[in-house]
């Protein structure tokens, strides 16, 4: 292990700054909720400062790439015999990438929020939560052992809960927050069980020790390691909204749009991908689990894309798109292309945050317009938009960049990262045909992605405007504080692909080489397939072709001109309705799980077992028997002294008799 550079010792500051921001803004929310300048200064300032420190730290990593992670131990957290948990952070190449993504995107979104949330009465509370979120996210990516990571893991879930339910006065929002938290908790259960198993088998929970010991302890493909990784992956499905625990993410759009951009697109939901990449040794040693990860990822990628086809809510489309893109990331890490997964994670953070923030600008201006005229229309419904590029030219252009990146149009970032994943999946195909199926699922998903993204752009920005006659004059471009971050993110969406260009292009696979010290252990067990240059070129062309077909198809099939506003739109039928209602999965969960459990708790457990059987029959039954005996006894007491005397004398005589006998 090489010497820790002095710059890395500043890591604690990256984590502590957002926490300090939370504390200060939390205090502001109670004592000076209207001091918006100060709140913005603190809220944004800590993030910018954290980003700056992160740059310093990452430069140190770049200057002297560590062979093994640098561990910074701060204090002993849970010392209990052989369980010696420290509160420790670790810096290595993987956490460096995550550091840049998290602090960078967060800083942009914080700046954007200054404009977006400017008029909200809960401004201070909003920034406090947002800062707290960043704090937990950083703990998540920097934690040096599973429990510390779990602190961040659940902490971001908490902030997600608080921010989804930020406008808590609406029951829908509060419900959505609660749903997100509980769904995440189901995943966390898996995480917990995985930690128990890991501790049981390896006797440690520190990343370094566990991963170092894993090859000696576990047998490749053994039951234990499979169980551990599947349990970990259950945690990932909760946090990263994969089948079957994905339903919370679309509902989570109830939160403010920057929150959706930060938490539900760029950072928190990618934690699962990060976890798989971090624990790559474990997953690589369990081929079945890896296949499950890849399969679930591919399936989710396609499945979520089909739902996105028919949604009308602009944020829901982007949300399902996020679910779908997360599926690609899992496909990547599932086939052993850990660097590709992280690559897509990074590019996705840029273009999806961009999409969300741009959508936020659209929603805000529509919202203002409807507010100004007093009409109650849905500001998020595509059917109420149309032709917006005339009113919001900047936003439209920037959103097109994000959309194209998402579709995977060369040479934007999304093209390279998505193709990278698909290519590597294809490369595994010669091992098992299953991977060709995964690749096919992913490819179809990509086609659908191109379709729904084009649909979104066409309906929102092109064709005639359907917002309303009087509202039209209130539509205007967002202020610079909101468009500025969009520009930065758009640059990222365009250029981020450069960090990991395919092998056939110059500067090839820089990120993969950068992550080599972290992923090489996994690479020992899950050997990536190799593709010839010709195949690689073919796949690149195919990807570009798919994107083009999807876009052109959408452009031809959809007719924004004949679309009616939401209020006048006819009801959907058949398969469209099924898609619109998201395959009724929420309803199925509700009917099969939630309601029966509530019914069981109320009627059977509480009212029958608790109140009736235990309390009524057993406990009070005993009391009733005692009372009955007492009642019978009391009837014997006539209160007649004479009777008592007779009995008393009789008793005396009997006693005397007994004495005489002896």
């Amino acid at each position: 292990m090489n010497q820790i550079p002095s710059a890395v010792a500043w890591t604690w500051l990256i984590v502590a700054l957002p926490l300090a921001g939370f504390v200060v803004n939390g205090a502001f929310s109670f004592f000076a909720p209207n001091a918006k300048r100060a709140i913005s200064a603190v809220g944004v300032g800590v993030l910018v400062a954290a980003f700056a420190v992160a740059v310093v730290v990452v430069r140190a990593v770049g200057a002297a790439p560590p062979e093994e992670p640098w561990i910074l131990t701060y204090w002993s957290w849970m010392p209990a015999g052989s369980l010696q948990l420290d509160f420790a952070l670790q810096v290595d190449q993987l956490s460096a990438v995550m550091l840049m993504v998290v602090t960078g995107v967060s800083a942009m979104i914080h700046i954007y929020s200054v404009g977006y949330m400017g008029e909200d009465p809960g401004y201070a509370r909003y920034f406090a939560y947002l800062n707290l979120f960043v704090f937990f996210m950083l703990v998540l990516v920097l934690g040096a052992n599973f429990p510390v990571m779990f602190v961040g893991w659940e902490g971001v879930g908490l902030c997600s809960y608080l921010l989804i339910g930020f406008w808590y006065e609406d029951k829908v929002n509060a419900d959505a927050g609660k749903k997100a938290f509980i769904m995440n908790r189901i995943g966390d259960f898996g995480f917990l069980v995985a930690m128990f198993l890991i501790f049981q088998t390896t006797g440690s929970l520190d990343f370094r020790e566990v991963f170092a010991a894993a090859p000696a302890i576990f047998e490749v493909g053994g039951a234990t390691i499979t169980l551990i990784t599947l349990a970990l992956f259950l945690g990932c499905t909760g946090k990263s909204a994969q089948i079957p625990l994905y339903t919370w993410l679309p509902d989570a759009m109830a939160g403010p749009t920057p929150v959706s951009a930060l938490i539900h697109a760029a950072t928190m939901v990618t934690a699962g991908v990060y976890l798989v990449a971090r624990a790559n040794v474990l997953f690589a040693m369990a081929p079945i689990s890896s296949a499950v990860v890849a399969g679930v990822g591919a399936l989710t990628a396609l499945y979520a894309a089909t739902i996105a086809l028919k949604q009308w809510d602009i944020k829901k489309i982007i949300a399902y798109s996020t679910v779908s893109q997360l599926g690609y990331m899992f496909l990547g890490v599932g086939v052993g292309a850990y660097a590709s997964g992280i690559f897509h994670l990074a590019t996705h953070a840029f273009f999806k945050a961009l999409m969300f923030l741009a959508a936020g600008s659209v929603i805000q201006t529509l919202h203002h317009a409807y507010h100004a005229t007093g009409r109650h229309e849905d500001a998020q419904d595509l059917r109420n938009m149309g032709g917006l590029q005339r009113y919001l030219p900047w936003t439209a252009a920037l959103m097109w960049v994000g959309g194209l990146a998402n579709i995977g149009v060369p040479p934007l970032a999304g093209f390279f990262s998505k193709d990278d994943i698909l290519a590597r999946t294809f490369a595994r195909g010669h091992e098992a045909p299953l991977f060709y199926l995964f690749w096919a699922l992913g490819a179809v998903g990509a086609l659908l992605t191109a379709f729904y993204m084009t649909r979104l752009m066409a309906y929102a920005f092109h064709g005639p405007n359907r917002t309303g006659e009087r509202e039209r004059e209130h539509l205007h471009e967002a202020p610079w504080v909101m468009t500025g971050p969009l520009v930065v993110l758009a640059l990222g969406a365009v250029a981020a692909g450069a960090i990991n260009l395919p092998a056939v292009l110059p500067g090839h696979e820089w990120l993969a080489r950068w992550l080599e010290p972290v992923t090489f252990m996994g690479g020992l067990y899950l050997v990536e397939g190799q593709l010839g240059a010709a195949t690689e070129w073919t796949l690149l062309a195919l990807a570009a072709g798919i994107a083009a077909i999807g876009m052109i198809g959408a452009w031809q099939l959809l007719k924004p001109a004949v679309l009616k506003p939401a209020r006048e739109a006819p009801a959907e039928t058949g398969i469209q309705r099924v898609l619109l209602r998201k395959y009724y999965v929420d309803e199925i969960y509700d009917t099969l799980l939630v309601r029966p459990l509530a019914w069981l708790s109320d009627r059977v457990l509480w009212k029958t077992i608790d109140a009736f059987i235990i309390d009524g029959v057993a406990v009070n039954g005993v009391a009733r028997v005692a009372r009955l005996v007492g009642w019978v006894g009391s009837r014997l007491q006539t209160g007649q002294v004479g009777t008592y005397v007779v009995i008393f004398v009789l008793g005396t005589i009997v006693l005397l008799r007994a004495l005489l006998r002896s």
Partner: protein, 167 residues
């Protein structure tokens, strides 16, 4: 001598429990008590006999009579005797008790405990009647004696409290 007083005592007791008027009952009881005092003398317990006359026949019975008079119960009202069943029960239980006690009386006394006949009267002549009792009373039974005095005090207070019309 003994049998005469015994007969008087039993007769008085019998009359006491059968008279309708409380006053008459009380007076018959006085007769029994006096007879008992006589029997005590015959049993070498002159001091107790004197006490019997003073405390029982004198103090206690006077108290009873006082109360009876105070409550104006002297006039024999309707009998307070129980009905035939009650009488039969009383009779039966009384007889049963007598039988049992009779058996008890017949049982022999543990011989080592017995003093030779006439010991007590001899001792009484040597030391005086009271001295025999007082010796035992103020040595062996000093604490009970003192406790008794407290008991009497408590009884006085209690009686006063109970009998007062209003506290």
């Amino acid at each position: 001598m003994f049998w005469l007083f015994a007969a008087l005592a039993v007769g008085g007791a019998l009359m006491c429990i059968t008279r309708r008027s409380p006053v008459a009952s009380a007076l018959w009881l006085v007769q029994t008590l006096f007879s008992l005092a006589a029997i005590f003398v015959l049993l070498d317990a002159q001091f107790i006999a004197a006490l019997q006359v003073m405390v029982y026949a004198g103090a206690i019975m006077v108290l009873f009579l006082f109360v009876i008079m105070l409550l104006n119960l002297g006039r024999g009202s309707a009998t307070d005797m129980r009905g035939w069943t009650g009488r039969l029960v009383a009779l039966a239980l009384g007889l049963l008790l007598v039988t049992e006690l009779w058996v008890l009386v017949r049982s022999p006394l543990a011989s080592p405990l017995q003093l030779p006949a006439g010991t007590l009267s001899r001792v009484a002549q040597e030391q005086g009647v009271v001295a025999v009792i007082s010796d035992s009373l103020f040595r062996t039974y000093l604490v009970p004696f003192e406790v008794t005095s407290v008991l009497l005090l408590a009884a006085i207070v209690g009686a006063v409290v109970l009998a007062k019309r209003r506290l």
